[in-house]
Amino acid sequence: MTLLSPEEWQAVALSLRVALWATLGGLPFGILVAYALARWEFPGKQILNGLVHLPLILPPVVTGYLLLLTFGTRGPIGSVLQDIGIVFAFRWTGAALAAGIMAFPLMVRAIRLSIEAVDPKLEQAGATLGASPPWVFATVTLPLVLPGILAGAILAFAKAMGEFGATITFVSNIPGQTQTLPSAIYAFLQVPGGEASALRLVVVSVVIAMTALMLSEVLSRRIAKRVAGA
């Protein structure tokens, strides 16, 4: 297609990859944290809860800067990870990390709300039938929470598709490596005459996110119908 330049297609592909990884990579943690916040009592619970919300409260630049300080190659975590071969700084993985962290509060809240809505009586029923807590989680809670997980995932995906401030601050805007759609849009908006190009990219971004949204709605409706019985 001639709608976009090869470099822009690269940005589209990268954005998709980043958003997918941010979503899928964040999901296990999101589910775990949501479950802990919804069902467990432990010291430091409120601190965890606060931490999770932090990326929402902080201006994205600050989040990006903090990421740069900790996960950069010279940062305390980044340097350790580098030794075992995991590098976030100035890689697409870093963009995924930034997007994932920015999207995390949204994901956790959606999943947590769904977990809180699961009737503990059903989980008890699972236990009486011999399922240990992890099994109860896997066979009762998780399936019932699927709509919430889906909602959390789609929120995270949308957020990751749109995330820009933390990403560009953390991993810069290197075409082919860390230039996602939003950073490309940003760059266009910084110069005269870039609006039209920016608009094209905005449209692409919106189309992708809307497609994902629509899919999630269809899926979620199917799940709901199953449970309602048919």
Binding site: L68, G72, T73, F90, T169, S172, Q177, T178, V191, P192
Partner: protein
Amino acid sequence: AANAAEVTVFAAASMKNAMDEISARYAEETGNTAVVSLAGSSALARQIQAGAPADVFISANTDWMDTLEQDGLIDTDSRVDLLGNSIVLVAHDPDAAPVTIDADLPLAEMLGEDRLAMALVDAVPAGIYGKAALTSLGLWDGVMPQVAQTDNVRAALALVATGEAPLGIVYATDAAAEPDVSVLGTFPEDSHAPITYPAATLADGDAAVAQEFLDYLQGPVARAAFERQGFTVLTE
């Protein structure tokens, strides 16, 4: 270089158009690739402080370059003042008559109740220069409460372009290309510190390729491209 090399350039986002053109020509001519990462100067400088794999840095102001120089992150010898720019007063009204910008400019009256759009006057270069100019002309105190600051100069331009603010202070480079604003006048060069875009190769980068690209930026192709975008080229 015989082998195709890659040079990573961290450049202020306002240089996008010129850098796109220059890097394309550079690739054609040398076979090397220039990867240009465009972002705010502060973000880029911090990334360099954090060990970014950049070879060349072009800042939109001297402060961040100075900071990196103090940190020993740039190759001091390579530092050049690459580009210059000027700031102008723009208006939304296409028929507005040009004015002379000096201490007598009735800026407050021109604004009336309305806003003067600028970039952040304490943080973003265009805003800092603008504030300095207004201050040296003795106009700042009269308009200060009416200044609407944005996080970048393009957003200030947009405020004027949409008519939300009747007047604004932006770079000449931005004003020239925006059909919905008219330039009322240019601020005197001596009313603010010189607007320069310093460039340098980075201490940790690939020195040879970096210097080659930096030289290319000072060559005729680049000069033409920069001038097309309205920049003043400061190197010979």
